[in-house]
Each structure stands twice: as C-alpha cells, then as structure tokens.
C-alpha cells in the first residue's frame, strides 16, 4: 500500500541522518514512538516530538530505555507501527526487550545510532561496534534483521524498509546508523506519498473462533491481530504453543525456536540487500557498510587507478548476512578487505562465509573517528602481498 500523505514531507531537504530517519519513520506510517535521550540519537526523537502532534502521532519520552523498548511493543499490540531510538548504552539496556519482541513476534523498529564504546565511551563520536550485538545481543536463539544506512538519504529510505520488513516478518528490525551518518547533513529527497510503498500489518481478518495467534503461514510468519477486537489473545515471553499458551517442554521449545530462527534464515534471499561495484573479476574485494563504505571509496579509487582490480561490496542489510553471495564472489578473489569502525565484527561473517581459505584482512580501529582512507588503501594493496 502507499504511504499516508498526511505524514509525508515531500520535497528536497538539507537535513542530517537523524532527522531523515525520523521522516522515514513518519513516511512508513509510524505513529507511536517511545524514546529516551541519548547522544547521538536524540535528534531523531526531538524531530518526532515536533512532528507528531499535528499528524496524529504519539511520542512519549519514557523514564528509561527499558521502558521505551517495551512501550513500543504495547503500542504494536494496540495496532500501531512503533519505533524507539537509542545509542550503545541504551541499546544494551534494550536487549531483553529485543528478545521479547522476537519471541512474541511483535513488529517494531529499533534505531541504534552507534557511538564509540564500550560503556559510556565517546558519546559524540562514531563507531560501528554494536554490529554483533545487533545479531546476538539478547539471550537465546532468534532471527533478526538489521539495515545499515550510509547517508541521510539512506537513513530515510532504509527506515521505511525496516518498518516494511518488520511487518512482513513479524520481527523487530534494527536500523544501525552511526554518529557520522546521523549527524551528517546532506540532501534528502522525500518523494510524494504515492511513490512510497509501505507494508501494512499482516492481519488475520477471520473470526476469533479457531484463530491461533502463532500458527504460521507458508513463509513461517503467523498473521497478527490486535487487542480490543475480541480475539482474547494471550502473548507471553514464555515458550509457547500455537495458541500462545506457555508450554514448558523441550518439544515445544524446539518447534518454536526452530521457526523463529528459520523465519529469517529461510527467507534470507528475499530479505538481504547489498550494493556491488565492479565485483566481476575483482582481485581484492572490499566489504563495508555504513559510513565506512563512503570512506573506502577514495581508497578503492586510488587502488584502481594503480591498476588493481578492486571490487566493492556494500552491506545494506547486515543481518541476515549475505553469506551465499559473498561465497559466490570469492571464486576468483585473492583477498577480502573489511574496514569497520570496531575491532573486527562483520569481518568474522565474511570469513565464515568463504568456501575456501581466502585471506580476509580486517581494517579495524577503536572508534571515535572514521578511517583514514590511506589505511584502507594500504590494506588493499598489502592484501595481495601474501
């Protein structure tokens, strides 16, 4: 379906990634945001607080991130598209509730504008250190989706995508921004509402009799209902059967967790998105995401000018990881170079995906700034020296 014109601020703007993310949420139909201030994400909720009252949205600054991350789930079960926004320390606090959303299959969006950690770290400076946490941060096994914008325009576009994926798969979706993209001001084009495709809530339209809240459709995703419509739903974080009732047995656990994991894993081909540049015949493949993908460009250009065949593979979805495509591309590649503003996180996924021993060179640092392109260039050149 098309976006609601009431919320869409059609036009061309000069705004930063945080602001663009807020507009993306509004365009996607989000009308409930619960958040807590934390640098460098605060501008997202500040803009939401300004925009919501006149477009029928409700923003509430909750008392902490734990409250925010579950208030959005209450709102989702009342039928709303809901989002919360945070950075590293808040992201850590939200982990239990990301697991709750995965377990109860509650569609909602979590935005993490990453800053240098661990702990309080460097609140105003960029990093990409939460990428593994995005996949594995909550206890237990579940599938999750994460997207990585590399510009304010993508902050707008991929936030819409995040909402759409969340509705499609009844799963929490993470928007992994970083402080640099979040605070970078660039041109953002917001199209007319009828050019924005949004995914509606997968609702069960039938009668309550015989309805099973957790009985999946063919793609492994169960249709949803909301409170107040007479379905007498029961939603619990305990291991549950198709009725939603807690059943404390290993057999039910296996059935449920198997489906939660495979809901994303088996639909990965439909979910993953990436951008490729000159990957055919590449000798060296740079795999990057977020702001680092832009910092890598001058390094790649320079190496190409010197005659090296360098491909650039950019993750749009970090999770699920495009394992199959990376493996495919590795056939003739002599080395992979993975620059990240962390001490090596997505590089492990690249290594894991490769079918044979191909050197994988991380370009890591502790965060607080973007890479110096020279370091990426150096890694590209040295990667071929065996």
């Amino acid at each position: 379906m098309k976006a609601d014109p009431k919320g869409v601020m059609t036009g061309a703007f000069f705004i930063d990634g945080d602001h663009a993310c807020a507009e993306g949420a509004i365009a996607a139909g989000c009308r409930f945001v619960a958040g807590y201030p934390i640098t460098p994400s605060t501008e997202v909720v500040e803009r939401i607080a300004e925009r919501f009252p006149l477009i029928g949205g409700l923003f509430i600054q909750m008392e902490d991130e734990i409250a925010s991350s579950i208030a959005i789930q209450g709102a989702a079960w009342a039928g709303k598209k809901a989002m919360t926004v945070t950075s590293g320390p808040g992201f850590s606090l939200m982990m239990e509730h990301i697991g709750l959303a995965a377990m109860t299959e509650t569609p909602c969006v979590f935005v993490d504008v990453q800053r240098a950690g661990p702990s309080t770290g460097l609140p105003t400076l960029p990093a990409q250190g939460d990428m593994m946490q995005a996949r594995w941060g909550s206890h237990g096994d579940y599938g999750i989706i994460a997207v990585c914008p590399n510009s304010p325009q993508e902050s707008f576009d991929l936030t819409i995508k995040a909402f759409n994926l969340s509705e499609q798969y009844r799963v929490p979706v993470l928007v992994m921004l970083d402080e640099c993209v979040g605070h970078m001001t660039e041109r953002v084009v917001i199209p007319p509402a009828d050019q924005i495709e949004i995914t509606p809530r997968r609702s069960w339209e039938g009668p309550p009799e015989g309805f099973l809240l957790y009985k999946p459709d063919k793609d492994g995703v169960p249709p949803m209902v909301k409170a107040g419509d007479g379905y007498n739903v029961h939603v619990t974080g305990l291991t549950h059967d198709e009725r939603g009732y807690p059943v404390m047995t290993a057999a039910v656990q296996e059935k449920l967790v198997h489906r939660l994991v495979n809901k994303i894993r088996l639909n990965a081909e439909a979910i993953v998105e990436f951008k490729e540049d000159q990957v055919d015949g590449a000798e060296v493949m740079v795999v990057s995401y977020g702001i680092t993908s832009r910092v890598a460009i001058p390094a790649i250009e320079q190496a190409r000018q010197e005659g090296l065949k360098v491909g650039h593979f950019r993750l749009i979805t970090a999770w699920p990881f495009p394992k199959r495509r990376i493996r495919e591309l590795s056939a003739k590649v002599r080395a992979f170079v993975v620059p990240e503003i962390n001490y090596g996180q997505m590089v492990h996924e690249v290594e894991r995906s490769l079918g044979r021993t191909v050197p994988v060179v991380p370009v890591s640092h502790g965060g607080g700034s973007v890479h110096n392109p020279k370091d990426i260039y150096g890694a590209i050149v040295n990667s071929l020296k065996g």
């Binding site: 409930f32 619960a34 409250a67 579950i70 009342a78 409170a227 007498n232």
Partner: protein, 291 residues
Amino acid sequence: MTEESMDVDVSMPTNTVEEYLRMERMPHIWCPGCGIGTTVNCFVHGLEASGLDLKKVAVVSGIGCTGRVAGYLKLDSFHTTHGRAIPFATGLKLANPELKVVVYSGDGDLVAIGGNHFIHAARRNVDMTVILINNFIYGMTGGQVAPTTPVGATASTAPYGNFEEAFNLPYLAESCGAVYVARWTAYHVRHAAKAIKDALLKKGFSFVEILAPCPTLYSRRNKLGDGLDQMKFYAAASEIQNDADTKTVGLSFQGKIVVGKFVDKDKPTYLDAMNTFYVQKFGDRYAPYKG
C-alpha cells in the same frame, strides 16, 4: 420457607468466574492456600460489576506468581518481562485509548525491578488500573526478600532476618500522584471486589494493593502457619480506616493492617493533559488525539 420451596427453581447455575477464565489451562500453578486465586475472583466480580466492554479490557502482567494471572484470564492478556508490565501497558493504552488496561502483578515485580515505571506512570496519571498482590516475598523464585518484606521476617536471601525498611505502598502510590489508592486483603473479598470495580471505573492511575498469603514460602519460613492461618490473621489484624493518611499505613511483621480506600480524587489523565495543552498551543490545527 418450606411453603415457598415448592415454587423454587433448584437448577444449578454455572460458576460465572469460569466464563472469565481459560478453563482449558486449569488447574493453575498456585499452591494450596495461596491467596492469588482469591484475588482473581475479586477481580472478576469487580470487572463484572463495572459493566465495562470485555473486548476492550486488556490485562498486562509481569513475572512472578501473580504474573501468571494474565495467562488464566480470558481477555486480551499480555505476560511481559519482569518489572515492565507498566510501560507495556502505557504503550497499549496510549496507542489505543479505548482500551481499559489493567496491570495485575506482584510486589517484587511492580515495585522492585518495576519501581521506576510505577512511579512515572503514577506521576503521569496514565489511565490504567494497577492491582498489586502483596505477599511480602518473591514467591516464584523460591522465597527471596522483597522491598515489601517487613523488618524481622526471614527470606531465602535474608536468612538471618530482613533489616531493610519495607515500602509503604499506599504512601508511595499517593506521593507519586495516583488518583485512587486502596488496600485490602484476600480476606476482604467483597471490599476488594468493590475497590477493583471503583478503580476500573476511575479515570487516571488507580492502585489497589491486596495482601495475600504465600503459605509455601513467606508463611512457612516465618512459622506463620498455612494460608488459612494468614487469612485469619488478616481478619483479626485488619482495621478499616477509609481516608486514612497514607503516611500512617505502613506494615510491620504481623502487625496491624490498615485497610480501606485512602485516596479518591480527580486529576486530568496523561492524554487529557496532552490534548488540553496542544489545543491551547495549536488551536484548530490540532485534532485531539484519540488513538
């Protein structure tokens, strides 16, 4: 009486409580002599008396023995994470103000781990009813000390006796802004049912504390007998003082229990305050938020 009895219909009606329960999940998990089931009867009676549209009633609970109530009620029910029923309920209510949202949880869940959320929801006067079953202990996990455990009582994590002061819950609720505050015990079934009815019909943050026995852990550890002994104690030690100053209704170990309706006042709810504010600010440009 015998003359009338010939004209009397002696067919047995069904137990109306069962209409509100997910009977396929019976028997429940609560111990013999546990008072939680008793409070569920009070809730059902209060809900029935309120006349509320059951389709619009949603129950949210946290983790613990009382938290299991949500799973047994045949209403839209949400069994959330430990301590976080109130913020979930806030999201549910603010996203659809037509819902009547009830938080039904235990003392540890609502005022220990959930303490921060309790005080803020009361401060905001979010329109919800919080039913707190106080058994002075963390029951589900085996009897640990709670912020409501009286000084001198023992618990598994206070094996030599608890020396921490306990919360005076009605005082806490009132001081944070709750518009309706009452305390009853599982013995006072009719009062509790009426309090729940009044709390459900009250606009704003309404709070009902109901003391209930935990025979397996609190009573047994503290040599207080079984559930019935605790209920008899409630009957003997309770004193009804409606409109008591909540500062004075703190509880001590096996001491006097002041019960009653302590606070019943009116204040704009969170959404009322929001809409009034924005109408003033934006005039006709603002459409009052209805969900």
